[in-house]
């Protein structure tokens, strides 16, 4: 027995109706992170020893700052989607679930903007 008409089936959203894009976004951000993380790890290895002058100079390069800014964006978005999925899976009590979800939005977006602000400040160094 079919419970969906052909249009509903073609849209392929099942009973959830929305949220399918989270699945795609989680994987798209993962691909970004997969490409960017090895680049930043290799860059990090070149900055040893981690000393103030050395790192300040390295972060004043716009390319480096851009890569870090992109990594932080992809990482924060990926983290938010992941945390949301974990909360949806394990927290049954809706008030707790949504409180924690809103907290994670606030904490992660705050830390993203905080890190971006730092990167912009780091660009200005002579």
């Amino acid at each position: 027995m079919r419970f969906e008409d052909s249009l509903a089936r073609a849209k392929g959203q099942g009973s959830g109706h929305s949220g399918h894009h989270h699945f795609i976004a989680q994987r798209l951000s993962a691909v970004f992170l997969l490409l960017l993380s090895p680049m930043l790890a290799l860059w990090l290895l070149q900055q040893i020893p981690f000393e103030y002058e050395n790192l300040r100079h390295a972060f004043s390069d716009p390319w480096v700052a851009s890569l870090w800014a992109l990594w932080l964006l992809a990482g924060t978005y990926h983290a938010q989607l992941g945390i949301q999925m974990v909360l949806e899976d394990y927290i049954q009590h809706l008030a707790w679930r949504y409180s924690l979800m809103i907290s994670s939005y606030i904490i992660l977006s705050f830390s993203l903007f905080w890190a971006w602000a730092a990167l912009i400040k780091l660009l200005v160094y002579e």
Binding site: R27, A30, V31, L33, L34, S37, A41, L45, I48, P49, F50, Y52, L55, R56, F59, W68, L72, G75, T76, A79, Q80, G82, I83, V86, D89, Y90, Q92, S104, I107, L108, F110, S111, L112, W114, A115, A117, A118, L119, K121, L122
Partner: protein
């Protein structure tokens, strides 16, 4: 929450442990993003504040923390690749799943130790 498998009586297979580890490392990495922002900010505020940030890491507990965090990132990245192959419908065979599980653990450990060996060697 799934009612099956019955977690108290069912011996979890390796792949289940890796799945749990994937989620666990994911949550830990998400929680560490504010720490990264803190580190960048301390660098932007000058030598003193960055020195204080480094001093928090520059002790045995700090090293252990940094090592664990790097393993979490590398493991999550490697196992993420495994997940992407699954998303493309590849590697669902029982033997393939077992093989990719061992491969992910091996590669993640190898990359983590290589990273820290290079860090140690170049800071001598």
């Amino acid at each position: 929450m799934p009612l099956s498998p019955h977690l108290q009586t069912y011996r979890l297979p390796l792949t289940a442990w890796l799945s749990i580890l994937h989620r666990g490392t994911g949550v830990v990495l998400a929680l560490s993003l504010p720490l990264l922002a803190w580190g960048l900010h301390s660098l932007s505020r000058g030598n003193d504040s960055f020195g204080y940030f480094l001093s928090l890491l520059n002790n045995p507990i700090g090293y252990l923390f940094a090592f664990a965090l790097s393993f979490a990132l590398i493991y999550h990245l490697c196992n993420g690749v495994r997940h992407m192959f699954w998303d493309m419908g590849w590697g669902f065979d029982k033997t393939q799943i077992q093989r990719s599980a061992y491969t992910v653990i091996g590669v993640a450990l190898l990359l983590t130790f290589s990273f820290w060996t290079i860090v140690y060697a170049s800071s001598l």
